[in-house]
């Protein structure tokens, strides 16, 4: 199971600064089990965002958000509600946020930090998409993770090894993650994000908190994995 925690409400509101309408997306899979993005948390988030003066244009809970094809078919039915929103708040792991961002041409804010994927890649197979860094930065990068997409895991844009959208490491097969991010942000009208200066990654956050590792839920996870 992928374990996530909710970002502090302060950070969620900061990401949505200047926006009014928001569409909330929850996940009935691991995020529900984590208590971070199930139906109950979506309902709670609606109240809190309304209190903060946001307009909720709609909400949905999907089984599961890491299934990109499913996310697309479910969201298509809510096209109008999504169109009315300035952004989507996606309450799940980094994989689910990336799957959602890949199928809607809208800003997708991550509501959670992914603490551990337990080795899972979710239903969106193919490659590692979430580095379980514990401090999700998908808001800054338009829903594409630089830790998994950039060979060097850079946080401030492409290095000099980027050429024609390809990475100096395996240019035949590997895209430059930062050019993908640049193109996505450009499409979203958010190129200003590339002027921001993110804090250097806090590597200590990549280790799930000790409190979590002493829970019976964690112990069960470990047993399943072996």
């Amino acid at each position: 199971m992928i374990i996530s925690e909710q970002k502090p409400m302060e950070e969620v509101l900061q990401m949505m600064e200047g926006e009014r309408g928001v569409f909330i997306v929850g996940c009935n899979g691991c995020a529900e089990s984590s208590g971070t993005g199930g139906k109950a948390q979506v309902a709670e988030m609606k109240t809190r965002l309304a209190e903060a003066g946001k307009t909720i244009t709609g909400s949905i809970s999907i089984d599961v958000l890491c299934d990109k094809a499913l996310v697309k078919t479910r969201l298509v039915r809510r096209e109008e509600q999504i169109r009315d929103a300035d952004s989507l708040l996606v309450m799940t792991c980094g994989i689910g946020v990336q799957a959602t961002a890949a199928v809607v041409n809208k800003v997708c804010h991550p509501a959670c930090n992914t603490l551990s994927t337990g080795g899972a890649v979710g239903e969106w197979r193919g490659s590692e998409r979430c580095a379980q860094c514990g401090d999700c930065l998908l808001d800054y990068t338009g829903g594409l993770c630089p830790l998994t997409l950039c060979t060097k895991g850079l946080l401030n844009g492409p290095c000099g090894g980027s050429q024609d959208g390809k990475c100096e490491f395996e240019p035949e097969v590997r895209d430059c993650g930062w050019i993908l991010i640049y193109e996505r942000l450009k499409k979203l009208g958010r190129l200003d994000k590339l002027r921001e200066l993110p804090e250097p990654k806090r590597r200590d956050k990549a280790q799930p908190p000790a409190e979590l590792r002493t829970t019976s839920r964690w112990a069960l996870e470990q047993r399943d994995a072996s």
Binding site: L154, N156, C159, G160, G161, F169, L191, R195, L197, R203
Partner: protein
Amino acid sequence: MKVSELFESGKFVVSSEIGPPKGVDVTGMMEDAELLKDRVDAINITDQQSSVMRLGSLAACKLLKDRGIEPIFQVTCRDRNRIALQSDLLNAAAFGIENVLCLTGDYVSLGDHPDAMPVFDLDSVSLLQAASKLMEGRDMSGAELIGTPNFCLGAVVTPCTEPMEPQVLKMEKKVKVGAKFIQTQAVYDPKTFENFMSQIKHLDVPVMLGIVMLKSAGMARFMNKNVAGVHVPDTLIDEMDKAEKRSDKSIEITVRLINEMKDMCQGVHLMPIGWEKKVPAVLDAAGL
């Protein structure tokens, strides 16, 4: 002497690059450095260039400094985490090294230890931030330093890459967090360089045009194929191909490129890659 002081005095600044040897015999390196000493304003010492393991930049910079030659200490993020990087910056300051060029670094697969662990704990921008913070008397964790280093920080940019905009945006960040001069990746096309310089004219920072001296047509083709952000036009490759004496032609082309582009920038950075002894001839012919 900080290179920023030279730019402030209005000087067209010239630097050249030396790669330390693979091993501990520094005779050749020091010969090259002595030869360039009175001809260039500063000498860049590369940091495990192309991810090939060799004598370190810090030791080579110290050797130059001891002989009164001004080094530019190149630091990449490939091989060290933030503890080692900050410590090496302090080491440099303790040796009296003032000019520091902060780079991301090539990926390990490009070099002779492709099986090594790539680090990239920081990147070029956060390394510049860390160095700037050290200059304010604090380390990245906020702890106070006993004695504060005083650097002139530099950064690099690749002008001839597509798309150009993300490179420009990243360069903006580098200037914002403390880069006082910029050295470019090799440029062979004055038109592209002119375009690039117009894209960054809002940035108040001196730019040094980078040129890798072409040693042969084969080398140019190799760079086109394997070095991101470097494009040698076919016309120059043809010229090298037909040249009777390659080194003379190389010097001629380098001088021509300098002459075509020197009015667009504030300095030139030569990367002779083994042809350090030919740099004086280039500078003579270019009137520098």
